[in-house]
Amino acid sequence: MSTLDRGTARRPRHHVEHVMGMAVSIDVRSAVTVDAIADVVGWLHHVDATFSTHKPNSPVSRFGLGEIGLDDLDAEVLGVLALCEELHQDTRGAFDALSVPAPNGSRFDPSGVVKGWAIERCVHILEAHGATDLCVNAGGDVAIRGESDPGQPWRVGIRHPALPQSLATVLSVRGPVGVATSGTYERGAHIIDPTTGEPTAGLASVTIVGPDITYADAYATSVFVMGLEGLTWLHDTHPDHAALVITHDDRTIATRNLSTYR
């Protein structure tokens, strides 16, 4: 952010904040003041301090390690725990914050949903500042509202799982929409199948498109764990979401409704 930018100047703004162990790109095409960006940045650091499993003293870490109980957590954290439980039931166990070994040494890691949940709230903050056309990308999870330019959808490239500088495809979307991609090609085998305790590796990449990045993010991880059967699960339980799956042998399979995003 420019240090000379004071006061109430409204214009499109772009900022990259490194927080929560990743880069968050904030791209606001609407005219907003610098406060809009500052509020989003403040929110992201609050999420980091509260939910990070890399920080042993965060409330989430302390809870996971048994140092504090449910009664010591505030409403915001309780809401995320309830969300974890909702997703656990919805995905038939494929999403499970309690079966993932956490960096803090506990077996509780809600990071799989916290990221999307936090991004969606970034968007709410920007909308509260009057933004209608925006794109927030946190480590590859994208939340979008409105259009990129008047009359133009946002063009979201999907990274190719095998070729880091290439794209598997490009989706054209208008908000409100979230695009989340799950895969192991960036951080190695870090996605654990809760039913086996082992890293999953059946698919190379899963991209989910839906109205809310909170759920798109969680479903991407869940479908990745489920494998190809996850496409059936998604179609049956969440027909308002679309999926693109790339297998290790280079097959690309999509749900039919992905055609609305081409």
Partner: protein
């Protein structure tokens, strides 16, 4: 007059407490189970696979048996649902349109209590398995989907319909369930079907009333690359990688990259360009 706001639940979500209760139960079960394992405190480096679970780790998700009466040893509930999903997947992808339980299983009355000790995973399995009559795999799958759909619909509706609360309440009072499928323990063999790749026969194993294994007895040869997952999934036509520069994209969605990975990523170039465009 206003109802006093609960600071723990300012939004008044009626599903909060049952979900937190269920979460607390599962969390405690995990804590009890992991006290005896060697995985606690292990830290992993990026890219390094976690150590394999010690023997018996798979039972960790089930609550420690305390006052429960002895019952047949059962596999982890998720194994059953995963096996069932695999079986349905094998069935659907190989063109299997029906398979029958053995006659004595079909005559068994199915119980109406549906829950098990683990929430969502067994919910799906038991939803399918409480079907009393012999059903096609497709019917089973659609019933699973329908029940899961209604569960999901209720779960996402915060107006507090009683069905949703009943569902979650049932899962928190688990562990007194006896048979969840109405099937006696044993092995059941389906009919043999012929599809475009050959003959397929499926065998299921039931333990403790739960389907714990699904085996394909005859696996056809053939080209599986052309399989369609279901009527709603199609091969995606764009199979060639696109060069990012010519794609004129606004953002990149990919697997989560760390700040280090970001610096080499496509997204960095996009952000640099956009920053230059918006600089005052």
């Amino acid at each position: 007059m206003d109802t006093p706001r609960d600071p723990r639940n300012p939004a008044g979500d009626p599903l909060l407490d049952p979900r937190l209760a269920r979460f607390a139960e599962r969390s405690a079960a995990h804590r009890n189970a992991t006290q005896n394992t060697t995985r606690t405190g292990t830290t992993r480096t990026l890219g390094a696979p976690p150590p394999p679970p010690p023997p018996g780790q798979r039972a960790s998700r089930a609550p420690a048996p305390t006052a429960r009466t002895a019952r047949p040893r059962r596999h982890h509930a998720a194994q059953g649902s995963r096996a069932l999903a695999l079986g349905l997947s094998i069935g659907s992808t190989l063109g299997l349109t029906g398979w029958m339980y053995a006659a004595q299983a079909a005559d068994q009355a199915s119980t109406t209590s549906t829950t098990s000790s683990d929430s969502g995973t067994a919910t799906a399995a038991t939803t399918a398995e409480t079907t009393n009559d012999a059903t096609t795999a497709d019917t089973v799958a659609s019933e699973t989907a329908v029940d899961t759909q209604s569960t999901t619909d209720d779960a996402s509706d915060t107006s507090g319909e009683s069905t949703a609360e009943t569902t979650t309440a049932e899962t928190t009072t688990a562990e007194t369930t006896t048979s969840t499928t109405g099937l006696a323990d044993g092995t059941y063999t389906g009919d043999t079907f012929t599809n475009r790749w050959g003959d397929v026969q499926v065998e299921i194993t039931v333990e403790g009333g739960v389907i714990v294994d699904v085996a394909a007895l005859q696996v056809p040869d053939g080209d599986h690359k052309s399989v369609e997952i279901n009527d709603q999934a199609v091969p995606y036509l764009e199979s060639e990688a696109l060069a990012a520069q010519s794609a004129d994209i606004d953002t990149v969605s990919g697997a989560t990259y760390t700040s280090e990975g970001y610096r080499q990523s496509l997204q960095t170039a996009i952000d640099d360009a956009r920053a230059a465009a918006t600089a005052s």
